[in-house]
C-alpha cells in the first residue's frame, strides 16, 4: 500500500519534470521568435546594472563611504544582490504580472489543466532572459571580491550558495504576495518597476544607513534585510547589529522558506476567492 503511494508520487514528480523540460524548450523557441528581442535584452539588463553600479561608484567617491562600508564591500553586496535578483527573475517574475493574468482572463487557462496552478503560473512562461541579469551580477561580485580582499574558504562558498537560494526565495515570496493582491483588487497594476526600485534601494545598499524603525520593519515584518544585508555582513565580518556571523546565511535560507510558504498559503487563499474576469 505504502509502496504504491510512493510509486504514484514518483510518477507525478517525473511527469512534472517532463513538463518543465518542455516548458524550458518552449521558452528557448519563443526567444528565437523575435530576434530583435534577444539583442534588446542582452543590452538592456546589463546596461541597467552596470550603470547602476557606476552610480554607486560616483556617489561613494563624493561621500567617502556609506555607513562604514568601503567601496569594495559595497561592490560585493551589489554583486550578490544582483545575482539573487537574476535568479528570482528567472523563476518568480510572473508574480509581477499577476494582475494582467487575472484581468485578461489568462488565469482561467491554468485552472483547466491537470497540473498544480502555482506550478503552471511560474513555469509556463519561464523567463530564460533573466540569465542576462546574472552576467553583470557575477562580474560586479568578482570585482567586489578582489577589491574587498575577500578570503575564500569552503564554508564561505557553502554560505554564499545557501544565502543565494534563501534570497531568491524571499524575493520570489514577496513578488507572489504582492501579485496575489490582484485576486482581490482586480487591478492591472504592474508591480515590476516599483518593486524593483524599492528592492534596489534596500538590497543594493547597507540597511544600516536607514533609521532604526525602518530597519526593524525590514528585518522582522518584510524580511528584505535578509536578502543581502545580514548574510553579507556576516560573510564580510561587518557588525550589522545582529551577531550571527556566518550563521546568517543559514537563517536567510530559513527565512526564505518561511516567506515562500506564507506566500504559497496566501496565494492558495486568494485562488479560492478568485472569480474569473469573464463572468
Amino acid at each position: 500500500m505504502k509502496n504504491a503511494k510512493i510509486k504514484c508520487l514518483l510518477h507525478t514528480l517525473a511527469h512534472y519534470i517532463d513538463v518543465t523540460i518542455c516548458h524550458i524548450r518552449m521558452a528557448f523557441l519563443m526567444i528565437v521568435e523575435y530576434p530583435s528581442n534577444i539583442a534588446g535584452w542582452m543590452i538592456s539588463n546589463p546596461i541597467q546594472f552596470i550603470l547602476g553600479f557606476a552610480t554607486i561608484k560616483f556617489v561613494v567617491e563624493q561621500f567617502g563611504q556609506i555607513n562604514g562600508w568601503t567601496y569594495g564591500q559595497l561592490a560585493f553586496l551589489y554583486g550578490l544582490s544582483v545575482i539573487s535578483h537574476a535568479l528570482s527573475m528567472i523563476f518568480f517574475v510572473q508574480g509581477w504580472f499577476m494582475g494582467f493574468y487575472v484581468v485578461e482572463g489568462e488565469f482561467d487557462r491554468y485552472l483547466t489543466r491537470p497540473l498544480g496552478v502555482m506550478y503552471q503560473f511560474f513555469f509556463t512562461n519561464i523567463n530564460i532572459f533573466g540569465v542576462t541579469d546574472l552576467i553583470p551580477g557575477i562580474l560586479v561580485f568578482l570585482y567586489g571580491c578582489v577589491e574587498s580582499n575577500f578570503t575564500w574558504s569552503i564554508a564561505k562558498v557553502i554560505c554564499i550558495l545557501l544565502m543565494l537560494i534563501g534570497a531568491t526565495f524571499i524575493r520570489g515570496g514577496l513578488y507572489l504576495c504582492l501579485g496575489t493582491t490582484s485576486f482581490f483588487t482586480k487591478s492591472t497594476m504592474d508591480f515590476g518597476q516599483y518593486t524593483q526600485e524599492i528592492m534596489d534601494k534596500t538590497t543594493l545598499y547597507p540597511l544600516s544607513m536607514y533609521p532604526e524603525s525602518m530597519q526593524f520593519l525590514l528585518t522582522y515584518l518584510i524580511p528584505i534585510g535578509w536578502v543581502s544585508f545580514y548574510p553579507i555582513s556576516g560573510l564580510l565580518g561587518i557588525d550589522s547589529g545582529q551577531t550571527y556571523g556566518l550563521l546568517a546565511s543559514v537563517i536567510t535560507l530559513l527565512v526564505g522558506l518561511i516567506v515562500l510558504a506564507v506566500a504559497g498559503l496566501w496565494f492558495n487563499y486568494g485562488l479560492n476567492k478568485y472569480e474569473s474576469a469573464g463572468n
Binding site: 521568435e33 530583435s36 528581442n37 543590452i43 541597467q48 556617489v59 556609506i66 493582491t181 483588487t185 524599492i198
Partner: protein
C-alpha cells in the same frame, strides 16, 4: 478649429477610462510614497543627517540636504508627469492589428496617442501628483520653490521636457512597426532615462567628464534641467544656455519624429496588404 474637438474627445474618454480601476490608484500612491520616503532616508544617510540640527549646512557639490530633499519630491512628481504610454500603445496595436482601425479614423494616429497620454496624465494629476505632494510635505519637507520668479522658466522648460520625453518614447515605439516585439527596447530606453537623466541621482554627483557627456544627450534635459531651475542651483546664464540646448533637442527630435513616422506608417500600409 473643428479638428481639435475630435482630439478633445479622445482626451476626455481617456480621463474617464483612467478612473476605472480604483485599486491601481491606491497601489500607485502607496508604492510611490514608499519609494520617495526611502530615497529621502537614503540621501539623509549619505549627508550624515543629524536629528538635533535638522537641515545642517553640509554642502556636497554646492547642494544642501534641504535642496536634495526638494529635488527628490519634485523628481517623483515629474516622473508621473513624464510617464508615457505611447510606446506600449504602438506595440500592442501593431501586434493585435488594431493599428489598422486606428489609422482608419479621421485623425492622425500620433495625435490620438498624444491625446490619450495627455488624458492619462490629467487623471494622474489628481490620482498621484496631489497625494505625492501632500505626503511629501507632511513626512519629508515642503518642496517649496527656491525663487518664485523662476516659475515661468520652470513651466516653459517643463513643457519642452515633456515634448522631448514624448518624442523619444514615440521614436522608440515606432521600432514596433518593423521589429514587432519592442519590450526589450522599451526597457533599454527606460533604464537609460532612469540613470542618465538625473531622475534618481542628480548629474552633479557624476564626475565632470561623465556629466559633460550627459549634457550633450537629450536625457539630461528631461529631468535635470527643470529640477535645477526649481531648486535654483544654476545661475541665470547657465539656465538660459541649457534651455536653448533643450529647445534645440526638441526641434531635432521633432524632425526625426516626422521623418521616421512618415516612413514607418508607409511600411505598416504594406504589411496590411
Amino acid at each position: 478649429m473643428k479638428w481639435i474637438n475630435k482630439y478633445l474627445f479622445v482626451y476626455k474618454t481617456q480621463i474617464i477610462r483612467s478612473f476605472t480601476y480604483k485599486y491601481d490608484v491606491y497601489g500607485n500612491i502607496i508604492m510611490q510614497t514608499i519609494i520617495m520616503i526611502t530615497s529621502a532616508f537614503f540621501w539623509r544617510a549619505l549627508y550624515g543627517f543629524d536629528i538635533s540640527k535638522p537641515y545642517g549646512d553640509v554642502m556636497v557639490n554646492g547642494v544642501r540636504l534641504e535642496d536634495m530633499l526638494t529635488y527628490i519630491i519634485m523628481s517623483s512628481v515629474l516622473s508621473v508627469l513624464l510617464s508615457t504610454n505611447v510606446e506600449r500603445r504602438i506595440e500592442s496595436s501593431v501586434r493585435n492589428g488594431s493599428i489598422s482601425t486606428d489609422m482608419m479614423k479621421p485623425l492622425n494616429i500620433f495625435g490620438i496617442y498624444l491625446s490619450e497620454d495627455l488624458g492619462r496624465i490629467t487623471a494622474l494629476i489628481f490620482q498621484n501628483i496631489l497625494p505625492i505632494l501632500i505626503i511629501g510635505s507632511l513626512f519629508i519637507k515642503v518642496p517649496a520653490m527656491s525663487d518664485l520668479t523662476q516659475l515661468p522658466r520652470f513651466c516653459i522648460s517643463m513643457m519642452l521636457s515633456f515634448g522631448i520625453n514624448w518624442l523619444l518614447a514615440a521614436l522608440f515605439g515606432m521600432w514596433a512597426f518593423t521589429a514587432i516585439d519592442v519590450d526589450a527596447l522599451i526597457q533599454v530606453k527606460k533604464h537609460l532615462l532612469r540613470l542618465l537623466s538625473g531622475s534618481i541621482i542628480p548629474l552633479w554627483f557624476f564626475p565632470d567628464w561623465f556629466a559633460n557627456i550627459l549634457k550633450a544627450l537629450p536625457f539630461a534635459y528631461i529631468y535635470q534641467l527643470p529640477l535645477d531651475i526649481y531648486i535654483g542651483k544654476s545661475s541665470d546664464v547657465e539656465v538660459l544656455q541649457m534651455m536653448t540646448i533643450q529647445a534645440i533637442w526638441l526641434v531635432v527630435l521633432g524632425l526625426a519624429f516626422f521623418i521616421v513616422s512618415k516612413r514607418a506608417t508607409r511600411k505598416i500600409m504594406i504589411q496590411g496588404g
